[in-house]
Symmetry: C2
Subunit: 385 residues, 2 copies
């Protein structure tokens, strides 16, 4: 393992549970074949694993009424959904102020095609909390056609009240898209409601799986037009993609290697307990805040009510650029992420644009020793400034 103290878990969780490394290697050695495109025993075994992984995801999200579509990245999932929806000129699209370029760059592209009104959901800047009353007013003034919402911000960890928001927008006929990249497997969330049209997950973040598998959960009734065309291993004679979900969106060879890792990760989450994972992450989150709060020259961006956030915390160090802090921390083998975190609008909202912040993000696997070292290194930085 690495001797790096890793606070870059919002980019990708590291390390993974030992079970994930072991199972992934074993499965790929024993059964690293292409599924669903043949009838041999290995292909059938691989297909069974994929089905079981879908089932574990539906269990985790409490939505046996829905379907899982696998993609290779959450960005691909967001593109499939947003580019595939039928939007009309003049419609209102609501985004949170925290959205990632994986949302805003797609919306910018859609604005090149349609006349869209892009509106920012009201969030209290002091408390970093969603202002439901103001949002209720926003919706009544300008009816939402589409709401795209990070369940938790990848910059400052603010958790959005997705159920309340989706319940407020749905009566207007809005399509609600929730980006759960920073919460799936961490914040126990029921997405069975019809108010949530699409919920996106990334295997390699809070799900503790590997890179290469992501996807979304949906009812299968609202079907975006396909974005990627290709072989689906079934109905091959048809030059249109199948109408059935998930087949309609799962073109090309599925990444059985990554899916096997996600399978092991989901089993680990189940065995460990999502509440226990959340409690451990919260413990590490609070430890992080405790350390950072010791320094007067560090400004912390986290919700006023810390427990309404997850362990992703942005900071500005007075008198230092974020990049220089990142560099010094790296020299002390502490990994963080500095800059804009692919979310320039979030930094504009926080007032940290264009310099960005130093982002610390914890996982289940950070230890007390990690925070002791962090404290010591921050002491050193302050003393030598």
């Amino acid at each position: 393992m690495s001797d790096t103290i890793y606070f870059d878990n919002a980019a990708t969780t590291f390390p993974k549970p030992e079970e994930v490394y072991v199972f992934m290697d074993k499965f790929y050695r024993e059964c690293g074949v292409n599924l669903g495109r043949g009838q041999h025993n290995l292909a059938a075994k691989a297909s069974a694993l994929v089905s079981e992984t879908r089932r574990l995801l539906l269990d985790l999200f409490h939505c046996s009424n829905k379907k899982v579509i696998f993609t290779h990245t959450a960005t691909e999932a967001m593109n499939i959904i947003l580019q595939g929806l039928t939007l009309t000129d003049g419609c209102n699209i609501y985004l949170s102020p925290f959205e990632h370029n994986a949302v805003t760059r797609i919306v910018a592209h859609l604005q090149d095609i349609h006349k869209l009104n892009v509106i920012t959901l009201a969030v209290n800047k002091e408390k970093l909390s969603f202002d439901l009353e103001r949002i209720r007013y926003q919706f009544s003034e300008k009816k939402p056609a589409l709401v795209v919402l990070s369940h938790a911000s990848n910059v400052c960890g603010v958790v959005a009240p997705i159920h309340e928001l989706c319940a407020m927008s749905k009566p207007y006929g809005a399509i609600n898209v929730i980006d759960m990249c920073q919460t799936a497997g961490l914040v126990d969330t029921d997405v069975s409601s019809d108010n949530i049209d699409f919920a996106i997950f990334a295997g390699h973040k809070t799900l503790y799986g590997p890179l290469g598998v992501a996807g979304f959960v949906c009812s299968g009734r609202l079907k975006p037009l396909p974005l990627l065309f290709g072989g689906t291993g079934a109905d091959s004679a048809n030059q249109s993609l199948p109408e059935t979900v998930p087949e309609r969106y799962e073109v090309a060879s599925p990444n059985i290697h990554a899916i096997s890792g996600l399978f092991a990760a989901l089993q680990w989450i189940k065995a460990t307990g999502i509440e226990q994972i959340y409690e451990k992450e919260k413990y590490n989150h609070f430890k992080l805040i405790d350390v950072l709060s010791c320094f007067d020259n560090i400004k912390i961006f986290t919700p006023n009510d810390i427990s309404s956030g997850i362990g992703v915390v942005s900071c500005v160090f007075n008198g230092y650029s974020s990049d220089s802090i990142g560099k010094i921390l790296s020299e002390h083998h502490i990994a963080v992420r500095t800059g804009l975190h692919c979310a320039p609008y979030c930094h504009k909202f926080l007032g940290t644009y264009p310099a960005g912040t130093v982002r610390f993000s914890v996982s289940y696997f950070n230890t007390d020793a990690d925070f002791t070292v962090l404290h010591r290194v921050l002491d050193y930085i302050v003393e030598n400034s």
Copy 2:
């Protein structure tokens, strides 16, 4: 390892070189982070590996004048290229008769948008060889705007004379797209010529890498419009994708896990020698033909000049459906792929549509014992029919 005798290498090569499994597991355990989006040591190490993998690919394809764009699947690469080109109504698109749904379904989608003339390149049905004289005439009659060509067929292994064809189409201003999924790393191929605009590879097939990494090689001068929008880890404030290549097409977290496996595979190819790999595969290909040729009731689809094909061979068993043969072989632990192989037009061309064929495809790792067992099982099938 599995006790299956694996003749489904055209779907994905299996097993991989031991070095690939070992390196991938080790690298992901030690450095399974997100690259290019931060400054910490692990991120820098991961970035260096990605750069080195690009360099090894350019070496393999003899094209230091070009650039490598990573995607997650070859299908994604084909979609980025074909959907991103600016096509005009009435233009002529030439496809080989062997194209996969990863080409033909995209073209069918493009035909919903533009009036395109889709023309099949002339191939001699008896010899299974491209008819260059007739194609020269085709081009002169209907000027090619776009040529999309599998370097080798995934159904019957026919290798296309890509250099001659691209040289013939280029004077008309055609854009030439070569699908090297079945040849990259197997057939030593120089794609440095300006006649070849895009050459697509799949990491998990003849390159002996894992699933989850593919891509294309291009000059970077002709830039398809982007298909997928999202974070690129750089120039984050800009809501348009960067103009630079590869950044323009590489959105979302790169799959460092899969890329590390491809890196190890490319090193294995270099150490083993691509000529040696080709010779071994050809040896196995000829062994396969020898076994299949022993049976009068097996019709083999392979080029007349066997050495102008690769080890992907389709068969029809008189008196049996392809699926039933696949099932019997599977019961004897022999993995093949039956049906249409996501290439219905190829089967229409071969006269094997809609029933399809039994496809046997070999790799470097098949052994003489595999063919002995295959021979015995085929004997058993014939005796018991």
